[in-house]
């Protein structure tokens, strides 16, 4: 009997041991949960915890039992936590929320799931179970990501298959469109409705069909894609904004599920293009008028112009009197003179008008007649002002400039005809580098010599000096520098201000000068010199110099500096305060020096020209302003990131193009020759402008030196690409008897100044070597070892099997560009994703190689360049 009981007990013991082991395993699993796991009473007393909880509370896992969960939180957070407990009880529903948890004095953000534990404690108090995960890292990354998104100047949104915009949009979208709460609206509401007037029928049909492609095969979308508006002009907050639209369908199982729309603000570029086109048009018209004027013999022209001037001044009054015969006579006279002078527009318009009024008599449409006469008068005024500028300048300066180079005029005429022919062949966008080069050359033709300022400056200096009772001698050296007319105006204003300033505040009165042991005449020196791409200048005087104490007093008074930071201010830094906005006051700038623009505006004007200004003491006495600026207006570039191999190929193509067009013989060297050994790496820049600059330099080099070898290399350390132009070896080897001739083709010499700027705008430089070679250096280049490796993950919810194709294509394009990608299962900043979701920097599933490469390059552009 006893033995049987013992056996029963043994058996029961074994069963219990097994159950105990199983229970212990389960408990151990709970203990090792990665986040916080706690069961606690309503009063906060912990009854069950896990290891992570012990770590955070820095308590032994056994002692944590019986302590309060309140220890995890700051007091106000505990209040929130208690409120959540109440909510759980009230709604009988688990709550999920994020609150900070204290850990070693720092706050970590935890995501909590709080629920009621289904058993009550003996006291009757409810028990709660909470699971918490540390999401601090995630939130930090989200913040970083948001910051990155905020820096991407693109609007990105997705349209759901309902036709409504999803809630997930990039942060730039709303400011770009000038409105908020876009989610739930349609593309029509947000983009198209404001621009409908400019859509053609095909656009309208494509927009109307857009909603019907959702849920349909991708090919249906492709059918309408080309007709969807690619650019819209919107009025946003009373400004015109040009927005480029890019559409990318998000395809799931072969059908269009959603539509990704990328909006890019092209306003500045479009406006720059419009300005450039207007400027070109004006230049073309001006050049045409000049050429027409120059075609006519000066002695005949003089008579014709005066005669026409007389007739044109009367024609308006005659037209208003509606005296048909008298008006016809007058128009006839103008027409005859215009014919002789070669002014075609005036001639043709007068002819039409004459015919019209002679046919219709008093029944003529007098409004129309009046408008046409106005256009004749306007055209005449343009001609007449040009004529006066060319032939009637009092000192004959301009006249002399043009007349003394008749050969140049002829060449410009040839250039202009060549350009016109190109324009007639095709659209401007299709005329290639040659057309652009000629256009640049024509633009450069308008450049004016700085020396033109001499007489007006001298006159104004004398006037100011006389007015202030001072004796001044001005000495100018202009360095044969030519600048864009717009730059000329800015520099003239800046110069005038600096000279007035020097006379008013620098140069002392003759008496004071004599007392100080100086000669009674003050000297002002204006000196310009050109270095590569920049013009440097100095305006110096031998006057009293800057008064550091007065400058500091003024700066303190105007709160430009504080009492605390002026004490240690070096003298030279104190001088620069005179450029601060608000520094100029009546005490410092009198009525003469205060006219026009202030020193802060001088600084601003020079900054707009890419330059800067500083002031220093002049030796042995006086003040010296040193400044620099670019010779033409700011150039707009369309920079992109491209594989280095693409750059090489593009340069090769452009060189072959110029070789074929011009009949040059260009030898290739370096990577241009060894195209199989082109290294990886990425280049960032405006390819078109660079090719234009390179081919222009090549053309000029050939014209001057007769032969050329073009070498292309990279300097990974400086992140530069080097293109070296040198005489080809065969030419160097044979003794040359021919003296190289200056370029006879203006399209290769005139635009050099602007091309040089294109190089400089690419962080570039030019270097002339002692053997006559010219090295063009430009960046920004990232060598294969400098391209960062990226980690690419899968967006949550994406089936890895569905991403295989995209991943392989992405790897292929990355590898071809020397970019290393690591694929990971974890969430990364770069993701393969089905929609824009939370990953603006993601790669769209189903994207073609081209699209994926562009996305990849954009990431690098944003990250590295």
């Amino acid at each position: 009997m006893s033995t049987s009981i013992n056996q029963d007990l043994q058996a029961s013991h074994q069963i219990l041991s097994l159950i105990e082991q199983a229970k212990t395993r389960s408990e151990t699993t709970l203990d090792q949960l990665p986040g916080i796991y706690l069961v606690f009473r309503k009063d906060g007393i912990i009854m069950r915890s896990n290891e992570m909880s012990s770590t955070i509370l820095e308590m032994n896992p056994e002692n944590i039992i019986g302590t309060s969960i309140q220890k995890f939180f700051k007091s106000h957070i505990w209040t929130i936590f208690q409120a959540k407990m109440e909510q759980v009880l009230l709604e009988n529903k688990a709550q999920e929320f994020e609150v900070p948890v204290l850990f070693k004095g720092e706050e970590l953000i935890f995501y909590f799931h709080l629920s009621v534990f289904d058993v009550k404690s003996w006291t009757g108090l409810p028990l709660f179970a909470v699971i918490g995960h540390d999401v601090s890292q995630l939130r930090r990354m989200q913040k970083q990501l948001s910051e990155i998104f905020a820096t991407i100047p693109l609007g990105i949104l997705t349209v759901a298959n309902s036709g409504k915009i999803d809630t997930q949009i990039s942060s730039y979208t709303e400011p770009l469109l000038g409105r908020v709460n876009l989610a739930g609206l349609t593309l029509e509401d947000v983009v198209f409705s404001g621009a409908r007037e400019k859509f053609n029928l095909a656009n309208v049909e494509a927009i109307n069909s857009l909603n019907s492609v959702f849920g349909q095969p991708e090919m249906l979308f492709e059918a309408i894609h080309d007709n969807l508006p690619q650019m819209v002009e919107l009025n946003i907050n009373s400004d015109v904004r040009y927005i480029r639209l890019t559409y990318q369908p998000i395809v799931i199982d072969g059908n269009v599920d959603r539509l990704l729309v990328v909006l890019e603000d092209r306003t500045q570029i479009v406006l720059a293009q419009i300005r450039e086109a207007e400027s070109k048009q004006l230049e073309e018209v001006s050049v045409r008028r000049i050429l027409q004027i120059k075609k006519c013999a000066p002695d005949i022209l003089e008579v014709l112009m005066e005669d026409m001037n007389h007739s044109v001044s009367e024609v308006k009054a005659i037209a208003e009197s509606m005296d048909v015969r008298k008006l016809a006579n007058c128009l006839h006279g103008i027409k005859g003179n215009a014919r002789v002078a070669g002014f075609d527009y005036i001639k043709d318009t007068c002819h039409v008008l004459e015919t019209n009024i002679l046919q219709n008599g008093e029944k003529s449409d007098w409004n129309d007649v009046g408008q046409k006469i106005d256009s004749v008068i306007l055209e005449w005024k343009e001609f007449y002002s040009l004529y006066r500028a060319l032939y009637q300048n009092p000192d004959q300066q301009q006249n002399k400039t043009i007349e003394m180079d008749e050969g140049r005029i002829k060449k410009i005429q040839e250039l202009f005809n060549k350009y016109n022919n190109l324009m007639q062949i095709g659209k401007q966008s299709e005329i290639g580098l040659l057309g652009e080069r000629i256009s640049l050359a024509l633009r450069s033709f308008n450049f004016l010599p700085l020396e033109k300022l001499q007489s007006s400056i001298e006159m104004k200096v004398k006037e100011t000096a006389d007015q202030l009772g001072k004796m001044v001698k001005l000495n100018c050296t202009w360095g044969q520098i030519q600048v864009d007319p717009a730059v000329m105006t800015s520099i003239s204003n800046c110069l005038l201000h600096l000279l007035n300033n020097a006379i008013a505040h620098g140069i002392e009165s003759p008496e004071v000068r004599l007392q100080n042991g100086k000669e009674e005449v003050g000297h002002i020196l204006v000196h310009f010199k050109e270095s590569i791409g920049m013009i440097e200048a100095e305006v110096s005087d031998d006057g009293a110099g800057l008064d550091q104490k007065r400058i500091i007093q003024k700066a303190l008074k105007n709160k430009l500096i504080t009492i605390h930071n002026y004490g240690n201010m070096p003298k030279n830094d104190a001088y620069q305060l005179i450029f601060a906005p608000g520094f100029s006051t009546a005490e410092v700038v009198n009525d003469i020096a205060g006219r026009g623009i202030g020193l802060d505006a001088v600084q601003g004007s020079l900054a707009e020209l890419g330059g800067s200004i500083s002031v220093s003491e002049n030796f042995p006495s006086g003040t010296k302003f040193s400044f620099n600026f670019r010779s033409s207006e700011t150039i707009s570039l369309d920079k992109n990131c491209i594989p280095f191999a693409g750059l090489v190929k593009s340069i090769q193509k452009a060189l072959l193009e110029v070789q074929e067009e011009e009949g040059f013989k260009i030898g290739f060297s370096g990577f241009l020759y060894e195209s199989k050994n082109i290294p990886g790496g990425l280049f960032y820049g405006d390819l078109r402008k660079l090719n234009l600059a390179l081919t222009t330099y090549v053309g000029n080099f050939v014209e001057v030196n007769g032969s050329i070898l073009v070498d292309l290399d990279v300097n990974s350390v400086h992140g530069e690409v080097h293109v070296t132009l040198k005489k080809s070896i065969s030419e160097n080897e044979k003794p040359s008897t021919d003296t190289p001739k200056r370029s006879s083709r203006l399209e290769f010499s005139l635009p050099l100044r602007l091309c040089e700027q294109y190089i400089r705008y690419h962080n570039g430089d030019l270097e002339k070597l002692s053997d006559g070679s010219l090295v063009l250096k430009f960046g920004t280049f990232l060598g294969p070892n400098q391209i960062p490796a990226f980690e690419v993950g899968l967006q949550e919810g994406i089936d890895p099997k569905k991403a295989v194709g995209t991943r392989d294509r992405l790897l292929e394009v990355a590898s071809a560009s020397g970019i290393v990608l690591h694929f990971t299962d974890a969430t990364s900043r770069l993701q393969l994703c089905s929609s824009i979701g939370e990953a603006d920097l993601g790669f769209m599933l189903g994207g073609t190689k081209d699209v994926l490469l562009k996305q990849l390059l954009r990431v690098i552009e944003v990250d590295q360049l």
Binding site: V39, E62, G66
Partner: protein, 188 residues
């Protein structure tokens, strides 16, 4: 005797036996018993061991809540090993055996007075599992708690006593009988 009177006496009996068994089991003489005036509903330790003593007239649940680190020092005495070398399994076995000895002592005391009861096998589990035990009904059952305090810490013991037939316990001697210490510890 009324149920409450019986329960109080049984409770004292269990306390006395538990103290003596713990002293002999742990080889610690200096052990204090502190009764908790109000039964403590909290979890007294990360672990808990329990045993049931049951007959027709009475049913006693004896539970011990304990911490591993406290028990490790006490058990090391018995095992003759360094505390840190003991496994969790050994520690749990130690307390389970203590429950077994206590329940065995009660059973022996009852059977001396011809009251037959049986005892279950001891069981060790997490202290938190106490919340799954039914809340004591104050009319049919009586719960008490007390602390066994050793130099390294405390063990919270509790009894839950249900008296079905108080008269059956009229002849039971509640005087704790000293049990001859045979120096053997039997682990099942």
């Amino acid at each position: 005797m009324q149920e409450k009177e019986v329960a109080d006496k049984v409770d004292l009996l269990v306390q006395g036996i538990a103290l003596k068994r713990f002293q002999s089991h742990s080889r610690f003489a200096d052990i204090e018993v502190t009764k908790l005036e109000v039964p403590d509903p909290g979890i007294g330790g990360r672990w808990m061991a329990l045993i049931l003593i049951a007959g027709k007239s009475i049913r006693i649940t004896f539970k011990v809540h304990f911490h591993e680190y406290v028990t490790r020092i006490v058990a090391a005495n018995l095992y003759g090993k360094k505390p840190e070398t003991l496994t969790v399994h050994q520690i749990l076995d130690f307390i389970k055996e203590f429950c077994n000895l206590t329940a065995g002592g009660v059973k022996t005391q009852f059977e001396t007075s011809n009251l037959t009861v049986g005892i279950s096998l001891p069981l060790a589990t997490r202290g938190f599992d106490d919340v799954f035990f039914p809340v004591p009904n104050q009319e049919t059952g009586f719960g008490t708690s007390w602390l066994l305090t050793v130099p390294s810490g405390q063990f919270k013991c509790s009894t839950f006593i249900e008296v079905m037939d108080p008269k059956a316990l009229d002849n039971v001697s509640f005087e704790v009988v000293e049990k001859a210490d045979d120096g053997e510890v039997e682990f099942l």
